[in-house]
């Protein structure tokens, strides 16, 4: 019997009077990599921020490992074992790479095993160690993305949310980043990956939800990646 890591049910989020999510429902099982694709404005980032408690939920529910998250402030949600790598990376450019990394420690639920986790992250992302004393704003985009993921990982999340980690990166760097996602999953972290690049996401993730107009319109498996007709339908069908 698979255990759910995240259950989102009939979630509604509004920006003022404008609805951004109109009843999105999806679920992720422990250990899965689940993709979330959809056109601009479909509500992908909104969904991630609502899960993290950074946006108020108008209706519906979000459960993490069975416990409801609605109404809990972001800083407590982080300590329960969720982490978001935000779109555009949002590293702190004036702080050093190491300071950025250590900020990830703030959100840990427990202080046990910090040294081991830092070590593991440094092995996974050698640049984070190599440039530890450098101002983070001086890193390349790909390095900043790795730092942002590393920073999220040291908070020891059981569910990692990534918002367009490949945005603005060179294709070879994208591949590096995605390969590490596989390694991260192998350490037992569940992953929700939001992406614009639908085809490679569908091919990469265990399952992929297609979000459109604030709702989940479809669920695709890796076998659908090469099924152009189905992809087009997912994006443009009603």
């Amino acid at each position: 019997m698979p255990e759910p890591a995240l259950e989102v049910e009939a979630l509604e989020v509004r920006y003022g009077a404008v609805p951004a999510l109109r009843g999105a429902t999806l679920s992720i099982e422990k250990g899965e990599i689940v993709g979330l694709v959809g056109p601009n404005g479909a509500g992908k980032s909104t969904l991630l921020h609502a899960i993290m408690g950074a946006l108020p939920i108008a209706a519906g529910s979000v459960r993490f490992e069975g416990r409801p998250l609605a109404g809990i402030p972001t800083e407590r949600i982080v300590r329960q074992g969720l982490a978001l790598v935000p779109e555009g990376r949002h590293i702190f450019p004036d702080l050093t790479v190491d300071e950025n990394l250590r900020l990830g420690l703030v959100g840990r639920g427990s202080t046990d095993g910090i040294a081991e986790d830092l070590e593991r992250v440094r092995t996974l992302f050698p640049v984070v160690h190599e440039f530890r004393g450098r101002q983070a704003g001086l890193l390349s985009g790909g390095q900043q993305q790795q730092l942002a993921i590393a920073r999220a990982l040291v908070s020891k999340p059981r569910l990692l949310l990534l918002d367009e980690p490949s945005l603005g990166l060179a294709p070879s760097v994208v591949e590096t980043v995605w390969n590490t996602l596989g390694e991260i999953r192998s350490t037992g972290v569940t992953i929700l990956l939001v992406e614009q690049r639908a085809q490679i996401t569908v091919g990469f993730a265990d399952r992929t939800y297609v979000l459109g107009d604030g709702r989940v319109k479809m669920e695709l498996g890796p076998q659908d990646a090469d099924d152009t007709e189905r992809m087009v339908e997912a994006y443009f069908g009603s």
Binding site: A54, P73, E75, H90, F92, D94, L95, V106, G141
Partner: protein, 295 residues
């Protein structure tokens, strides 16, 4: 006029204004709010000293710290926290409201004639006599400035809470996503502002022993102008600006003939206007800063 003496006095007053500027800049960093009520902390501390003149000095000092820090945290909790997320103009007006309300309280409670304070007035004696007359208070002010600014820098650069404050000052939204506790870093900024206010109250009453209801406001407005001229968005530029305006005020006070001294503030602001015309972005901005967009 003795140039060395003028410079030493300038350093001492500059140090005091720098401490006020640090408090303003730390709060501005985490809340994007110019806290006019900070001057009232200094006033509260000074009144505390004037109300406890028959206490042992050490007890007076301790109580001064307790009052300043307590009031600072209380103002944030009661007046600013409920307005979190409100428009910047609203919170700015709230700081005015708190400042004027407290001033009214001082006026009603303590009258307009002022009360004497100055537990450390013995510091107002010459420590070193020579070509320069160095008073103890001058030495203490410079030393206190160095220690507190150094201490603040250490906290910001070497502790987790300091790192969280720096992160929150850059990008609060992302800091929260990493688990930074909003209330903790904001309260901490107000605690430091309270510490600075207590020290300023203790030291400023040595030279200006008459405490009136605008005791702290005057210092704070000048320090704020200095901090803005220096660049309020970064701690060290704001501090340097606060120091510079204190230094300039002191030097101008020495240079101006006694008959012109009532125009001292006017001269200081004239200087500020000239500076802002020359460097509208702030006196110290643009140095050591690299903002590069990476893809």
């Amino acid at each position: 006029m003795n140039v060395g003496q003028t410079i030493i006095n300038g350093l001492a007053l500059g140090a005091l204004y720098a401490l006020v500027a640090v408090g303003l800049a730390l709060v501005f960093g985490v809340l994007r709010l110019i806290n006019f009520a900070q001057g009232e902390l200094i006033t509260a501390g000074a009144y505390t000293l004037s109300l406890t003149t028959n206490w042992p000095v050490i007890a007076q000092i301790l109580l001064c710290f307790v009052v300043c820090i307590g009031l600072s945290v209380a103002i944030e909790r009661i007046a600013f926290r409920p307005l979190r997320g409100a428009a910047p103009a609203t919170t700015l007006v709230a700081t005015f409201a708190v400042a004027f309300a407290l001033e009214a309280v001082w006026l009603i409670a303590f009258g307009a004639n002022g009360r004497p304070a100055g537990p450390l007035s013995t510091l107002n004696t010459i420590a070193i006599r020579g070509s320069l007359n160095l008073r103890w208070i001058t030495i203490v002010e410079i030393a206190a400035g160095l220690v507190l600014l150094g201490g603040t820098a250490l906290i910001l650069n070497r502790t987790s809470i300091g790192l969280q404050m720096r992160a929150a000052a850059t990008d609060f939204r992302t800091a929260r996503l990493l688990g930074v506790r909003t209330n903790l870093v904001i309260s901490f900024a107000f605690v430091i502002a309270g510490v600075m206010a207590a020290v300023v109250a203790l030291l400023y009453t040595v030279q200006t022993p008459l405490v009136t209801q605008t005791f702290g406001l005057d210092i704070t407005i000048i320090a704020l102008v200095g901090a803005v001229v220096g660049g309020l968005d970064r701690l060290w530029t704001a501090t340097a600006g606060g120091f510079a305006i204190g230094f300039a005020t002191s030097v101008l006070g020495d240079v101006l003939p006694a008959s012109q001294e009532k125009f001292l503030t006017a001269f200081v602001f004239l200087l500020v206007i000239l500076l802002l015309l020359l460097r509208p972005g702030g006196l110290f901005t643009g140095f050591g800063r690299t903002t590069v967009e990476r893809v």
